[in-house]
Symmetry: C2
């Protein structure tokens, strides 16, 4: 039986700190079964700056196509998110459903269509009944609120096979008045290259897109793009990062807080990425794979991904099996430059191979104990360069198969 | 519990047709538990022509390093195969073990070392106790035989997690005197790019390496290199294709039988590749993925591999779930050129999408029945070119996880 709640779930869900000027509401519109909420409206009092990163898939969902089109205008007033249906591969009817929804929101809220973002997650290729969504828009509008609880509800409403809601909040500056919030969903079809999940990150720090986009990409690359659950890449997923922009609530991004801002932004994306892995379908272990001493950054990434996506490695970890040969296999198949005689391999602090030589493992019992833990670190040092990269993943369990063999039924 | 014998195993194991001039023997030397045979000696009466294809892994086993070194001499007299230990990543002791074994065979059988091929399969990074092997060489030599039963024993002795021995024989020509035989093993760490399994193919047709190597590569590419169980690439695997070369037993390869020869060779490699997939760890279904209408052959291969290695697709198939959205996802993430509005998708003869349009599936019950079968064909027609490629794989089951979480224990 699949886990009801991931054994890796955090003990406490972190509360979102409300930011003035941005409100949220959720409802059950009928796309999910069992009366679960499946529709979320996020509304900004005045248009905020937005940076979107979207899936690389060549068969993207309608929301991705729409959002990419309006992204050049650079502003956001509304984000509507539904779970239960991804609106992918529904042909003309899928496009028309999306447009009807956008038109309805635009007319009801008096905001330009180019400031309305849509996100959908769920089954692919099922026609989306937009009437279910449109019917609930008035309710969503009249229930917009700005408190922790409403954000928690939103985080729950965007879940699909997720077992716990993913939220995080960073508060900093001397006055403790700068806030970055994020909610996310993940669970299946999680793999590097953006293309991986839904995440909505917002702040009261009034950044400019041009100043931040490079740094934001870099941060996403190090966090969301460095996790993998099953190596699969979704058609629908995106990260939207946006700021509240009104004179009462927003704070100017200045040089003195820029560095701190990015630091906290990375902390937040890193936390959400960690939660997504920890809620990977069927996950029972959180695996951190650190590649060091590579000739270049690409090789370090390639090896990390090769290990993290190897079913043989992932099943060994689920069985707490110190079969490190499978790591060597994955290093070897990655295609990255290496010298087997220089390779060092560690499970946590336990050295297995030192510059290609296997140590006499007198502490094999300790290693086996270590591998039974729920967080495991694997370190591969190629010792031929200075580059390093971390990739996070979870183990591969029978629960993963259960969840995915019966997803639709 | 893992299956005792794959539900996809053939009802009857095909007998190998003995060829004069080549003999085989097997024994239990102690690398496998439970007194199972784990060591095979193949001996040719006089040196035969040989073509070897070896793993692409950057952390190859000692036998791969050795065989690649002697491959330029182009002849084979002896092949020694052990299961239970892969002799990979054992440092200097691994190299020295291999050399001791080669020296022993060379002196006992009076054959040059450069004609002695070694193959090992099993756990990585466990020191190989070559004494166990060397001790049994006299027994193996004195028991060399040339009958179907001895070859069947050899096919059993090279198994690791395989549940059935893989053998095939093709006999052709007017006189029915040309024979191609093959034995193989597979099961885990099976993925395209050679690097995948052990296969030993031999014939009494006296080919020349230069005449055949191109065609042989092409055939292997279409068969062994187009299967995948888990996307993992082994450090140890190889295909050795060799001919008996003595005046009493071998038949000259002439222009009139060349075409037939390659046809039968492809039939044989195709059959062995099919068996390897059908014995994929935990496999309950044989999945044939045919990509048609691609702009180029590489795109067709990329998409086939992307679908065949997708855990979400493979688990859906294990649950007989017609969730074709996962196929679209895998097509999309492959990176290949495509136009979603031209894409046609079929399960067997059942059309799901026709040029991007989803059909009204009145026959969904028939599709669900079809997906319960043990052999399923998935056809993706991109309708933008003339190239096609077939990739074979198996489903992903809880048994796969069982087998791999407990491999060493």
């Amino acid at each position: 039986m699949p886990f009801k709640i991931s054994p890796l779930a955090p003990r406490k869900i972190k509360k979102i700190s409300p930011i003035g000027g941005i409100n949220v509401s959720s409802v059950h519109c009928g796309l999910k079964k069992n009366n679960k909420q499946d529709l979320v409206l996020i509304k900004l009092d005045s248009p905020g700056e937005i940076i979107g990163l979207f899936t690389n898939s060549k068969t993207p969902g309608e929301p991705i196509i729409w959002n990419k089109k309006i992204h050049k205008f650079g502003k956001v007033s509304v984000i509507l998110i539904n779970s239960g249906n991804a609106n992918v591969f529904n042909g003309k009817s899928g496009k028309s459903s999306l447009l009807k929804i956008v038109n309805e929101i635009s007319s009801k809220l008096k905001v330009p269509k180019k400031y309305i973002y849509i996100a959908s997650t769920g089954v692919i290729g099922e026609p989306l009944d937009e009437k279910k969504i449109i019917k609930q828009i008035p309710f969503l509008i009249s229930n917009l609120q700005n408190d922790s609880n409403s954000w928690l509800k939103a985080a729950k409403a965007i879940k699909t096979t997720d077992t716990f809601p993913k939220t995080h909040s960073e508060i900093f500056s001397e006055k403790r008045n700068i806030v970055i919030n994020g909610i996310a969903k993940g669970s299946g079809m999680i793999a590097p290259n953006m293309a991986t999940m839904l995440a909505f990150i917002f702040t009261n720090l009034d950044f400019k897109k041009e100043e931040c986009i490079e740094k934001f990409r870099e941060i996403v690359d190090k966090t969301f793009n460095s996790i993998t659950v099953d190596g699969d890449t979704s058609t629908s997923d995106m990260i939207l990062f946006f700021s509240v922009n009104d004179k009462h609530n927003s704070i100017k991004l200045k040089n003195e807080n820029r560095k701190k801002f990015f630091l906290h932004l990375e902390k937040l994306t890193s936390k959400l990425a960690e939660y997504i892995v920890k809620d990977g379908e069927g996950a029972s272990k959180f695996l951190k794979i650190k590649i060091q001493g590579a000739k270049n950054i690409n090789d370090a990434k390639k090896i990390g991904k090769s290990i993290a996506n190897s079913p043989l490695f992932k099943t060994a970890m689920s069985g707490s099996d110190s079969n490190w040969g499978r790591i060597i296999m994955a290093v070897g198949k990655s295609g990255a430059k290496l010298d087997p005689e220089k390779l060092t391999l560690k499970f946590g602090k336990f050295i297995i191979l030192k510059k290609g030589k296997k140590l006499n493992l007198t502490y094999i019992n300790l290693i086996n104990e270590y591998l039974k833990q729920s967080e495991i670190e694997i370190i591969v040092d190629l010792n031929i360069g200075i580059y390093e990269w971390s990739t996070w993943t979870c183990d591969f369990t029978k629960e993963y198969v259960s969840i995915n063999a019966d997803y639709r039924s």
